[in-house]
Amino acid sequence: MMNSYPLKDDPEAHLRAASGRPLEDVTLDGPFEIGDLTIRADTLQAQAEVARREGYSQLAENLSRAAELTRVPDALLLRIYTLLRPKRASYTELGDLADRLEQEYQAADNARFIREAAKIYRARGLLRPE
């Protein structure tokens, strides 16, 4: 079933933080940690569906890729970004990165996106020479 927007006001959305804790349980009274204030993949996926339904299909794709990236640690995210900058990675390195994202983090959309980048980078001279 499609959630209504805003998700925060939709009781059917059953929002939970990355920690698994229901959103309404996070209060000033109780202890909480950063994972209780972190968005999780299925919420990003639900937001992607809202965007798609409203005609913002490119934003929807971005949010879907973001959903996959919730599983990727901070340091690796920063590393991938660096490798995608011009002439930082070889074709093979980008391919390996895509494989790793797909296999370790079930990030198939991101993997496809990086493979696509690798092909264009090769055509446009944006790779680091092997």
Binding site: I34, Y56, Q58, L59, A117
Partner: protein, 743 residues
């Protein structure tokens, strides 16, 4: 050197401190329509683009690839490209064509097609288009909060004031890069003290910005710059894919992102490839859209001076904003970097965005003085806040700002400065001393702040960035120190981050901490009476500036005890002697007792009589009841005067010398500038009237001209005149006795 003194003055005007240049297309110094801009075209085979804007697939650069793969809505492309550009341009100003229809078509347009549509619109038509295409119905605004000293208490105080003034987003940056996490912290605490729900960001290098966001200290980022040529993009050390990935990375941590682009950046980087600024910006916008950014900050931004040097440059900047909104992107429409030395020119440019309204009219209104604006900007700054507030009130236009009183500002600033001190204490950062709080509450700029050990702050910033401390610890520090409300607001920002509703297009939080975006507040403008309408409450709020006075206040200073020296004797009879009649208005000395210039009526009469007596004539005083009009009062007096000469005197001080036989609206001398009239001048008026009565031809009294008097005093003039008019009666003039002895 100028022969003409007028040209010399013109040469010194602020507008002539800027640079104007002829277009040079080869260098990209052309606002729109460069000979090198391609003609719109799109060919598809089997659902794939094989030619775009005249370039075959084999010749695509990285940007072409990205646009063809991600930016264009191919299912709408055939219809869009087949629709004449002029037809789409007309749809933009046709109130019968809904926004959705144009969104669909624009999504299928190539960059050259988008630029071609804009070429068919004049400035006013583009403003109409922007009003209709802005994606969020409710317009809003963003503030810059920075300071040269990176002072945390001042940052927090300024952020709190920006929040209560209505800014929906607050952006900070740094003078010293290492200060970034602490600056982000200070504006987070400050904004959430002022109003829960203000989105915040810290503009720094991408990787650092992401790190700070991951700590939960910021909620949006708009530093993702894109460029319209491949070489400019590479010089910016990015590609469309790296930027798109970065935007997903931010979103994965619950952070709203917005790309940045704008006219002139490619030319400035030497990589415009002979193309016009508008065409290159259209490419940027399709990259932005293709990357899945919900919005863009555009309108030349920091390059604004470059399009402003060219013919049509400001129009092109508006075209950029319009094209972005047509592509369904949130638009933060520039007006941030210094656009002109001339206040006239700067404000004229602002109107192009302020009148139609955009998602963020300023992509950074400097809420601090220019010299403290570390974005190198401050087009409009904290010293101009009242101007913007007045413009909102003048036009009934919503620029997203709220007038505040000094007391409200001081209270918010104090609480924010104290809240950030509590956080510094709680996290073990270098303490903020009481005198720093006091200075931050009342400061104009960071020059008013006491010295602070920046080295110690930077050390704390380093360990904060590298350590495990994050927004959770900030909430705890506030919660334990009497700032439960601020803690709750920051925690709610965290819950909103878990919900992700503000990742949708053009999302902000309203003053009830409810998300407002293009999803639940879509612009539905379809002509007059539709779209965004200011509520009655909002109009009242915008109208109630602290400097507004009640009409009664204007009159109070001019009402005193009725003149005891002035008595009514009975009906005034026509005289036969050489004399001057001083005819006063119906409220004179009774319902009004002081002129607009603050002179007591008794003193004014005495001055006039002194002047008359100096010429050896006698005066009679009559009160005219049938009119409050100065000319009529003088005319009525002349009918009574034995010499035929009379002075007409309104209670507000305006005077006339009239002679019987002249047409009622004609006169010997008129003194309309009542605020400039002094007692000495009233003496001179009396003297001249007496000389006319004796048959002389005196030199007219010279009253200095004050062009601003009317501007300053027109409300008072109207109200004093109304009070005099209230005393008009249908009765003949009455002779007055004035208890006065010449000196």
């Amino acid at each position: 050197m100028h022969e003409s003194k007028r040209f010399a003055v013109l040469a010194d005007r602020p507008v002539n401190r800027e640079t104007y240049v002829e277009p040079w297309p080869e260098a990209g110094l052309i606002a729109a329509g460069s000979p090198a801009d391609p003609r719109p075209s799109l060919r598809m085979v089997g659902g794939e683009v094989v030619e775009m804007d005249g370039r075959p697939r084999a010749g695509f650069d990285a940007i072409d690839w990205f646009i063809a793969t991600h930016g264009l809505d191919l299912q709408a492309a055939e219809e869009a490209m087949a629709t004449p550009s002029q037809d789409i341009a007309r749809m933009l100003v046709d109130i019968h064509v809904p926004r959705r229809r144009i969104l669909r078509l624009a999504g299928g347009c190539t960059p050259a097609k988008l630029a071609d549509i804009a070429a068919h619109l004049n400035t006013l038509e583009m403003m109409m288009g922007l009003m209709k295409m802005r994606i969020r119905r409710t317009p809003a605004n963003q503030a810059h909060v920075t300071n040269w000293r990176e002072h945390p208490a001042l940052l927090a105080a300024d952020a709190a004031e920006a929040a209560i003034r209505g800014f929906a987003e607050v952006e900070t940056t740094v003078r010293v890069a290492r200060a970034a996490p602490l600056n982000a912290l200070a504006i987070l605490v400050g904004t959430q003290t002022g109003r829960g729900g203000v989105l915040t960001q810290c503009a720094v290098e991408e990787a650092l910005g992401l790190k700070i966001a991951m700590k939960g200290l910021t909620s949006y980022a708009e530093t993702l710059s894109v460029y319209g040529t491949e070489r400019a993009f590479i010089d910016g050390d990015d590609t469309p894919w790296s930027k798109a990935f970065l935007s997903s990375a931010y979103a994965s941590r619950g952070v709203k992102i917005r790309f940045t682009s704008g006219s002139g950046s490619e030319a400035l980087m030497g990589h415009a490839e002979g193309c016009s600024m508008l065409y290159l910006e259209a490419r940027c916008l399709l990259v932005t859209r293709g990357a899945g950014s919900q919005g863009v900050q555009n309108g030349a931004i920091s390059c604004i001076a470059l399009p402003e040097a060219l013919p049509g440059g400001v129009r092109t900047v508006l075209a950029e904003n319009l094209l972005a909104s047509m592509l369904g992107l949130e638009v933060a429409s520039g007006n941030d970097a210094l656009a002109s030395h001339s206040d006239i020119r700067k404000t004229a440019k602002l109107m192009l965005q302020l009148v139609p309204g955009t998602d963020f009219i300023f992509s950074g209104y400097s809420a601090v003085p220019k010299k403290d604006n570390m974005f190198g900007g401050g087009n409009f700054d904290s010293d101009d806040l009242d101007d913007i507030a007045v413009i909102q009130r003048d036009m009934g236009v919503d620029a997203g700002l709220r007038p505040v009183t000094e007391a409200q500002a001081l209270a918010a600033r104090r609480r924010a400065a104290e809240a950030v001190r509590a956080v510094y204490d709680g996290l073990g950062f270098p303490p903020i001393r009481p005198e720093e709080i006091e200075a931050a509450v009342t400061a104009h700029s960071s020059e008013d702040m006491p010295e602070r050990d920046m080295v110690a702050d930077l050390k704390a910033a380093d360990s904060f960035l590298e350590g495990e401390t994050n927004v959770v610890d900030v909430v705890s520090a506030l919660n334990g120190a009497g700032f439960e409300d601020v803690a709750e607001n920051i925690l709610e920002m965290g819950r909103q981050r878990v919900a992700g509703d503000y990742l949708q297009p053009a999302a902000i939080f309203d003053r009830d901490f409810k998300v407002l975006s293009a999803i639940n507040d879509p612009n539905d403008y379809l002509g007059p009476g539709t779209g965004y309408q200011m509520t009655t409450e909002r109009v009242a709020e915008v109208s109630a500036l602290p400097q507004v006075k009640s009409p009664q206040e204007f009159v109070q200073a001019h009402v005193g005890e009725p003149l005891s020296s002035l008595l009514e004797l009975g009906p005034a009879r026509p005289g036969s002697q050489p004399e001057v009649v001083v005819a006063v208005g119906p409220a004179f000395g009774t319902d009004l007792t002081r002129t607009i210039g603050g002179l007591d009526h008794g003193d004014v009469l005495a001055a006039i009589l002194t002047g008359i007596a100096a010429e050896g004539l006698v005066a009679r005083i009559a009160k005219v009841y049938r009119s409050s009009d100065c000319a009529y009062i003088g005319y009525a007096g002349s009918q009574l005067s034995g010499s035929g000469v009379a002075i007409g005197l309104q209670s507000r001080g305006t005077a006339v010398i009239h002679r019987r036989g002249l047409a009622p609206l004609n006169n010997l001398e008129l003194f309309p500038q009542s605020p400039s009239l002094t007692l000495a001048l009233y003496v001179a008026i009396g003297r001249n009237a007496a000389r006319y009565a004796k048959g002389g031809s005196p030199k007219p009294v010279a009253v200095p001209v004050d062009n601003t008097a009317r501007l300053r005093l027109i409300v008072k003039t109207a109200l004093l005149h109304r009070r005099e008019t209230d005393q008009v009666r249908d009765r003949p003039p009455v002779e007055l006795k004035f208890d006065w002895e010449p000196e």
